[in-house]
């Protein structure tokens, strides 16, 4: 277990170093953030002063070393654009993203697992085929297009065509409530309404994935001897499906769900852009477009850390769910 954590952390450090170096060099190559930040009217002296203030006059490797030196003690610099510590900006935007991702994933699991199990238990039934066809659609359609169509449908077209049809909000987060210092919108009805479309957009693809995964896992488990043996013991079908099958498919489902959560958070970039969801992903896109390097780098560091932790949790979960797995012995 310890080895495992150490291995993960080592990996995280490497990823962070590689990514931050790449981003540093990359953004340096792309352009000068000052051109975007400074007003066109500014004089050359002002320009130079800004460049010096931001430390952009130094060679890029020196900037990088300065950054690493500070990052080690937890300082990731201030956003060029907002003048606030980059980390603070990210933490401000994080609850929105996490909230969206969790709701979407929850939705995906709650819908995906039962449907997937149904399709796995009765693979030849008409309904199962229907489920599978829909799931193909679900993960074929690109998220952004689904988002557009949902907006089109629920925020514009349906309310127009059908009088009295409630118009779903298509943008933003709605009112938030402070819970333990986090601003969350899942505690208000308006907040839920705002969550609905973006979460559905994200959940569609992931739900489709989970349906397929659950079905495949179910189909794999069903012909196992232990299922037959359970039948031979005279167990009820409910217990066989609910305990013997479910416990076994829970392993891949939990693993994948955990790992996909990371993907959802990353993919929130797109959804957040479409729905103007004030999360980290939008912050990233804006920062990339404005070359706000401290924010981009800090975002990556946070994301890497988050993903590594997620992986770790998934691995631990895996070992909890599957008694056969001992983390130490795993060569991964």
């Amino acid at each position: 277990m310890l080895v495992f954590i150490i291995r993960r952390l080592m990996q995280a450090v490497v990823v962070m170093v590689v990514m931050s170096a790449l981003v540093f060099g990359g953004i340096y190559l792309v352009g000068n953030p000052v051109t975007m930040l400074i007003s066109d009217q500014a004089s050359e002296a002002e320009r130079l002063a800004v460049i010096r203030d931001l430390g952009l006059d130094q060679p890029v490797w020196q900037q990088y070393l300065t950054f690493v030196g500070k990052a080690v003690v937890g300082e990731f610099g201030k956003s060029f654009r907002a003048g606030e510590p980059a980390m603070q900006l990210i933490f401000q935007h994080m609850p929105a993203t996490i909230e969206l991702a969790l709701v979407a994933m929850l939705l995906a699991v709650l819908v995906g697992v039962p449907l997937g199990m149904y399709a796995g238990l009765r693979p030849d039934s008409l309904r199962a085929r229907g489920i599978m066809t829909v799931s193909i659609l679900g993960f074929s359609l690109p998220t952004f297009w689904v988002g557009l169509m949902l907006i089109m449908l629920f925020a514009v077209a349906l309310p127009e065509w059908i009088p009295g049809w409630p118009r779903l909000p298509s943008s933003g987060r709605g009112p938030t409530v402070d819970i333990l210092g986090l601003k969350l919108s899942i505690f208000t009805a308006q907040g839920w309404l705002h969550l609905l479309l973006p979460a559905a957009t994200l959940a569609l693809a992931k739900g489709a994935l989970i349906i397929r995964l659950t079905r495949a896992a179910t189909r794999e488990v069903l012909p196992m001897d232990y299922v037959k043996f359970a039948r031979a013991k005279g167990l009820s079908e409910r217990r066989i499906v609910g305990v013997h099958v479910l416990k076994n498919i829970a392993i891949p489902i939990a693993t994948v769900t955990g790992l996909e959560l990371g993907q959802v958070i990353a993919f929130a970039v797109v959804t957040e852009t479409i729905f103007s969801w004030p999360g980290m992903g939008k912050l990233l896109i804006d920062s990339i477009l404005l070359l706000d390097r401290p924010v981009v780098v800090a975002y990556l560091v946070v994301i890497v850390f988050f993903l590594v932790m997620l992986n770790l949790v998934v691995d631990i979960l895996y070992s909890v769910l599957d008694p056969r797995v001992r983390l130490e012995a795993q060569g991964r």
Binding site: L2, V3, F4, I6, R7, M10, E328
Partner: protein
Amino acid sequence: MEGSGSVEPRRPAWPDPLMASPIVDLTGITKRFTQRVDLAGRIANVFGAGLHETVVQAVSDIDLAIGEGEVVGLVGESGCGKSTLGRMVAGILEPSDGAIRYRGVALEAMTSAQKRAWALGVQMIFQDPFASLNPRLRVGETIGEAPVVHGLVDKGQAADYVAELMRRVGLDPAYARRYPHQFSGGQRQRIGIARALAVKPAFLVCDEATAALDVSIQAQVLNLFMELRQSLGLTYLFVSHNLAVVEHLSDRVAIMYLGRIVEIAPTEALFDAPNHPYTQALLSEVPKLEARRRAYRPIEGELPSPIDPPPGCAFHPRCPHAGARCRTERPALRAIAPGRLSACHLNDG
């Protein structure tokens, strides 16, 4: 704890007439599989994780000479190291310790031509008739590939050569263009044999070569082995846990237990009067057609793990005759009669 390996003679005390020129000669062959501790593990050890290398001693200190034309059976329970030994003989695995001589030349001393002669001269027949054939090659290609690559036959003549080999193992040459999945288990095993024969080997290592076959098919393949031995003068190392099959085929039988040979003797002698308690137990265990309604006490317990073998005689935890000495001192493999060796303290009286 340490076995008396150092005082043990390296060669069998009794010279076998067949041994005049052994085709393969193993001395002190050992194979360890080691799982190392990686960087993360080492860091973890700093924090007191206490990880260390795990070593599986699959094969320990084996001396075995196999004469030209001889059939040696190798028997033992699952995991005792039979396959590992067989694969070292065939040159697929490298021993961790010990020396292999092929036709009198030690491995290290071989020229590259001799190395190739060894590589081609010793061939393997595998257990799984499904996994041992490349599913994406036509049967003709499977058989004909190696001789063409090694220049034993011209590309042009390969087809004839393959046809000849297929006939030899009892397959219709017309099937050369088929793929393995179109054959039954027995037929596939024949293809595997033909593939091995294609490089004109002198020695076949058969690793459970009939274990996956039905009895009626097993008989066909066993007959083929015997027929090939007659016609080609082949030498066999016949690895199996099926005693009846080994008995049927072998001239000599070696019994392995936990990586070591515990007894080796001419077949008849061994089956008539097994010496080692493990051999005795094993033989009594085998169900036989003739034996109706047996009443016996089966051997107790199970094979210990090779990661953590018991001290002394590895068999002592299961042995009905185990004494105090067996728990501490490892018995040496010693001659107990002409041509017979056994590793048991009981023989010391």
